[in-house]
Amino acid sequence: MTKTVVTPLTQALAEGKLSRAELRALMARSDRPALRRLALWLLVLAGTTTLIALSWNSWLIWPAMFLHGIVLVHHFSLQHECVHYTVFRTRWLNDLVGQICGLIIILPHRFFRYEHCDHHTYTQLTGEDPEMIGMPASLADYLWYLSAIPYWRTKLTELLRHAAGRLSPAEQRFIPKVEHDAVRRDARVMLSIYAALFLGMAATGWWGLLWFWLVPLALGEPVMRAIRMTEHVGRPTVAQMHENTRTSLVSWPWRFLCWNMNYHAEHHYVASVPFHALPRLHERLKDHIHVEPGGYLGAHRDILRQLFDRRDTA
């Protein structure tokens, strides 16, 4: 018999933080908000791509690539929403867009989906949450994580390992056996596409993808690492959702880029609520969750304060 799991949502309903009618209204899905946002997204991408092209023979290409990279790494946010099927009402569109985002940021969609499910089951529980970013032990650790070097090392190794058909014991726990072959196939397909792109560049002598995609991606990833840290790092490593997750109040451009995922505690409470309804859910839950009014920078100030306080008391 299936074991009952009390989700934060079930708890919120039981405690009257949300009514069933409110929940139903908040969960309503539509393709339209996502298609509108995606149109603007493509315009922003076209804009940052143009900036790189315009600054091609100048040192300005580096800030242009950084700016473009910030947009590129936010495909993670869109992919994350697709993992939850909360971008489009049409389910296959979430799969399609999620796959494309995964290809852009080198993160196989199916694998991420399974890993992320486990993150929602064991949020911020040491040794169980597969996406947990540990509280840095020192300023050097903090900066090392922000460099994104450990992230890329982990992700690229993971991709190669999956292509070779090897899953870690933790991955074997959260990926059903019937999907093991599919995870291997996804990794191989992804590597084949990248190999084909490189061969294409070598054959044509046009290496533009390096400057329009891979270098900006590497330059932008530290920004995504910094944002990912704001979600849980420095919050208590306990199961209670109102404790273990941080919502950061950020300005519209950041909310646009991250598909409202700054409302992270709300998202963890009710992962079925689409991105466009998260601000409304925030109004309903803001007194029951941890909110950082200072935004991403405020969250990092909190993390650093804890880091230095810990060092001073050690």
Binding site: T4, L9, L13, Y85, R89, R91, S272
Partner: protein, 106 residues
């Protein structure tokens, strides 16, 4: 006793169901999910067979119920999983409506 020989049991009045949505109904020790769909009423166990969350708190769209914990989804007409991480069919009950009452074989 075979499953088909089980008697019909009253579950809930149709008038008490949330229209176009999923309603939780307890039958003895079991929690059941009753779905009001465009093509009729269907009944399953309320707990998701992947993570054990209550499907009655999930998003319901037409014939697809989505688990609130991981957004795995099932087609309530035949129980088939339609989205990962759900990989096994969910348990459905034979269902009928008699005199305004949803009945299942259980």
């Amino acid at each position: 006793m075979s499953a088909t020989a089980r008697p019909w049991r009253d579950l809930v009045a149709v008038a008490e169901l949330e229209r176009g949505w999923v309603t939780r109904v307890d039958l003895g020790a079991r929690s059941l999910a009753v779905y009001d769909t465009p093509t009729g009423i269907h009944v399953s166990l309320a707990l998701c067979n992947h993570g054990g969350a209550d499907l009655c708190d999930g998003f319901f769209d037409g014939h697809v119920i989505e688990c609130p914990l991981h957004q795995g989804a099932f087609d309530v007409r035949d129980g088939r999983p339609v989205s990962a991480p759900a990989t096994r069919p969910m348990k459905l009950f034979e269902t009928r409506v008699r005199d305004g009452m949803v009945q299942i074989r259980a």
